[in-house]
Symmetry: C2
Subunit: 306 residues, 2 copies
Amino acid sequence: MLVYIAGSGAMGCRFGYQLSKTNHRVILLDNWEDHIAAISENGLQVTGDVEDCVRLPIMKPTEATEIADLIILLPKADQLPKMLQDIRGIIGENTKVLSLLNGLGHATTMRRYLAQENIMVGVTIWLAGLKGPGQAFLQGTGSLSVQNMVGDGDAVAPIIEMFNEAGLNASYDDNVIEAIWRKACVNGVMNPTCAVLDCTIGELFGTEAGLNLVQHIYDEFIAVAQSEAEGIDKQAIWVYIMETSKKASSHYPSMHQDLIQHKRRTEIDYLNGAVVFKGKRAGIPTPYCQMITDMIHAKEAMLGLR
Amino acid sequence: MLVYIAGSGAMGCRFGYQLSKTNHRVILLDNWEDHIAAISENGLQVTGDVEDCVRLPIMKPTEATEIADLIILLPKADQLPKMLQDIRGIIGENTKVLSLLNGLGHATTMRRYLAQENIMVGVTIWLAGLKGPGQAFLQGTGSLSVQNMVGDGDAVAPIIEMFNEAGLNASYDDNVIEAIWRKACVNGVMNPTCAVLDCTIGELFGTEAGLNLVQHIYDEFIAVAQSEAEGIDKQAIWVYIMETSKKASSHYPSMHQDLIQHKRRTEIDYLNGAVVFKGKRAGIPTPYCQMITDMIHAKEAMLGLR
């Protein structure tokens, strides 16, 4: 199989590295010049659980020409439309395209560029970091769940098999959508609230008013989720959120790191912003998500990020 | 007339000082020990537009015994119920009680302690400051509008006359409630948003997302205001808000000063919190006010203020 990684940041490098150990061909795509130069000249350096260096072809998305069997989408969320445009030349009639992006709304974007039957969505709990251009830092273990948007798992059995040859602990799951929503719920209640209130997850959940905020936002996520996916269990996801909040009590969530610590534009449009958008389409009011999205947007604008 | 000032902070001192220049008797009430000691020993020192010192009786609210003709309420908003309890001994059958507090919900509190026909409400645009115990700083000019909760202005004409003898530019206005709502709208859209987003009024109004926040909160204020007062002109108050935002563009509003700069508990319960409360009673949804109130409460709780 010919596999492209469209967006070869930290997680893209993990997938590229692990797939390079199989008999399949892997090509990394990215737009970061220094990253391309480093990997072209010295290979992909891996540290963490293993020390390794692999030679992997890497190029800009627009430079790829050979029709793919599988494309794994891992760009930054706001770069997805551009990435899908840039890789049109390698998408054939039977090319499967798997999104592993966090957040909501990506399948809608994909449908604008791809045939419904070639779209796959997945969630992974593998972790990955980048220490610099061409330098992946890979620790721990994880797993990967994927799903076809149309049909069952049979059509993508060879893809699952390839992932497992690469040690990625993959399985077919006919409710990945539910897992995506679960992850989005956790991030949607904690991320923007901790960013706006400049607090840790424990501080947010430790106040009655903070819990009110979480509960209101959560109710909207669930109402919208239930309008578009099967098997959304409100009670179970709430329990999962409360467990996560205890485990991650002393942490500032990623959106706090982006906005407050690094003054970077956030992914709010793919969390609470997407719930507002989907809510409008479904006739479900989402004032709490609207308000927290406006607050993050206002903060981004004040920092010159928007 | 015997006039008590119930709550003799900056504005209470202004009223006490100006009324002391008439032939009426004025007694200051307050609970701040240093303030009572300073005024008892050295009189009330006035600087600013004039330099003066006047001897004025001052005592704790529970120590007052002589039945009042007029009581002017100027405690901190969250001290109003306690103040009304403490001064029960000086409220007679014909004692008029005038609230000059900022914010919403005070008339409801007053009705629990006072006969409806003795309640007056007012708004003033006089300014006043305190430089220390017993030291009032008074600058500029202003005006005062008052209204009876029941009946017309005739019953309180002697009170208006007394205020004008004191140079307070008083007039009877049979829609003070509208003026109170207008002031509350301005504060309700700017104060908690600038406090949560840690920004100036100009920064808030200068972003599209910030304006969205303002607009959503404003819509709820107006819906609730129109449910309980006559003559609320949505268009006119919006124009007034936009003008105020331009004039005060470089300022941090008072709630920002309280919460962010001085780590003091805010008056959110008498602004957006009161709109939530009144909205519930009237069956009007107020999710934006609910959310910004929860955010301010959460922030207060994290700072140990609640």
